[in-house]
């Protein structure tokens, strides 16, 4: 009878298996309204201007970081981009600032600007992209900086419950140096959630254009935006994917890593400035086109604006803007 009891327990457990429904989104209309405030013709020019600046900039020292495959450390630039992002934010009416961290030869210049929240100004939603790039870096990471700037521009016309802190981290390509120093120096103590974007402009409609991601199966056509969360932001990840799907914002692929994401097989999903936030259990959601699992120009001299899909980038910017609106609680 013992085996029979075990079988009954198994039967009950099988019956319990179920899908987890998507958490309801309360202010959907306002969120969508903000997403639509992203102007299609404003995003791509940022990419073109930034890529040109990177191509004409002088590479920083790669002392201690010898170049290797997919890591051309002797072609990393950021100086002109720091000035460009600071100036762009200032032109929008922000008080842009630069947080300088570390020492030579690898000082990190993180550019920040804030849009104060009206209900919970001390609660900060970090909206991050890194501004350093190899070669022109159109996809990695002019695409995400452009999205961040356009979201910042659109946000000026809206009010939010929480403060939005736009930040362009420096030296991500050397191992998330800028964001790590920023967090370890205590600047992120007021951050309650984060939206991090890295490499979001390359798409392909060809079958076989998308590789699996370290043993995790994904569709083999690289025409979607990866929305990556861990267990702390599982509900948010579901909401974003559902919103994009039901409102026709764009094609996404929601991925949820186990735990806080720092396990061996899922560690690939921590490959950007949200990594340390995940380690610290700060809710953070990550957007990417899959980088080297899709884009053949990743970290190559050919990572140029003409290889990107402008419409894809605009759609992704709207999806990310919607996510910012959810987290910062856009006001009606």
């Amino acid at each position: 009878m013992k085996a029979f009891r075990i079988a009954v327990i198994f039967s009950v457990l099988i019956s319990m298996s179920c899908n987890k429904d998507v958490p309801a989104l309360e202010n959907k209309a306002a969120v969508l309204n903000f997403a639509q405030a992203i102007e299609a013709d404003k995003v791509f020019p940022w990419v073109e201007q930034l890529a040109t600046l990177h191509l004409n900039d002088t590479p920083i020292s790669n002392e201690g970081y010898p170049p290797k495959d997919l890591f051309p450390s002797d072609h990393l630039t950021r100086t002109a981009a720091v000035g460009f992002v600071t100036h762009a934010l200032a032109q929008m009416g922000y008080e842009a600032d630069t947080v300088v961290l570390g020492s030579e030869p690898h000082v990190a210049y993180n550019v920040i600007a804030e849009h104060k929240g009206v209900l919970y100004p001390d609660e900060v939603v970090l909206v991050a992209s890194h501004l350093d790039a190899f070669y022109g870096g159109a996809d990695d990471n002019c695409s995400a900086v452009a999205a961040m700037l356009e979201i910042a521009r659109a946000a000026k016309q809206y009010t939010f419950a929480r403060t939005i802190r736009f930040i362009s981290f420096d030296l991500e390509e050397l191992g998330s140096v800028g964001s790590t120093r920023y967090i370890e120096a205590g600047y992120a103590g007021d951050v309650t959630s984060a939206v991090v974007m890295d490499v979001i402009g390359y798409a392909s409609g060809e079958a076989g254009s998308q590789d699996d991601v370290l043993g995790v199966k994904v569709p083999d056509t690289g025409d979607f935006l990866c929305v990556v969360g861990n267990q702390h932001v599982a509900g948010l990840t579901q909401q974003v994917v559902n919103l994009a799907y039901t409102s026709d914002l764009g094609k996404t692929l929601g991925i949820i890593a186990p735990g806080n994401g720092n396990f061996f097989l899922s560690s690939i999903f921590m490959r950007s400035d949200h990594g340390l936030l995940w380690y610290q259990n700060t809710p953070a959601i990550f957007f990417t086109d899959g980088a080297n699992t899709r884009n053949p120009h990743y970290h190559e001299p050919s990572d140029l604006p003409e290889t990107l899909n402008e419409q894809f980038l605009v759609r992704n910017t709207r999806i990310i803007a919607a996510t910012v609106a959810i987290l910062a609680e856009i006001q009606p």
Partner: protein, 167 residues
């Protein structure tokens, strides 16, 4: 329908096992690994497990065990298996099994944002070619299994070493 069939198999196997005599109870420990890969769930790891084997007569063998895995989060599998074994010192076995995979895993959400089912049920077959028995218990090395699950999932698994004692 699939769940009903699985349940029916469980109940049938259990009733069959319970109705036969004589019965040998053999608790066991094992080291094993599993890699469930599908379009929406990747659950994998290596770890250890505890189980109870029931030998009924000379040839019928049933097993149930619980295993914990690491590598991609803390995952747990519960497994129920039944099958045929050879009588004698060298006692290879072939077992049909149903496993439920719980806990840590990487999920690819469904198109509308729903999370994939949890736990994942895997229906499979396991071969224990290097299995030996005597009146004190059994030892089995390199049991190889393969199963199928939802979302076009496949599930190779291996038990590196399994040791049981006869009660």
């Amino acid at each position: 329908m699939k769940k009903i069939l699985i349940n029916a198999c469980f109940l049938f196997s259990a009733l069959f096992a319970a109705a036969q005599t004589p019965v040998q109870w053999m608790p066991y420990v094992q080291q094993n690994g599993v890699y469930f890969s599908s379009n929406h769930v990747t659950s994998t790891g290596a770890g250890i497990g505890l189980g109870l084997a029931v030998g009924v007569g000379n040839h019928f063998l049933a097993q149930s065990d619980i295993n914990i895995y690491w590598i991609n989060g803390n995952a747990v599998s519960t497994r129920l298996a039944a099958g045929y074994k050879r009588n004698g010192t060298w006692a290879p076995a072939i077992l049909g099994n149903v496993s439920l995979l719980w806990g840590g895993r990487t999920e690819v959400l469904l198109e509308d944002g729903q999370r994939p089912v949890s736990p994942v049920a895997v229906l499979g077959l396991r071969l224990a070619g290097l299995r030996f028995e005597n009146d004190k218990g059994f030892v089995s090395a390199l049991e190889l299994g393969f199963g199928f699950g939802p979302y076009q999932g496949t599930c190779p698994e291996v038990s590196f070493l399994c040791v049981g004692i006869r009660l």
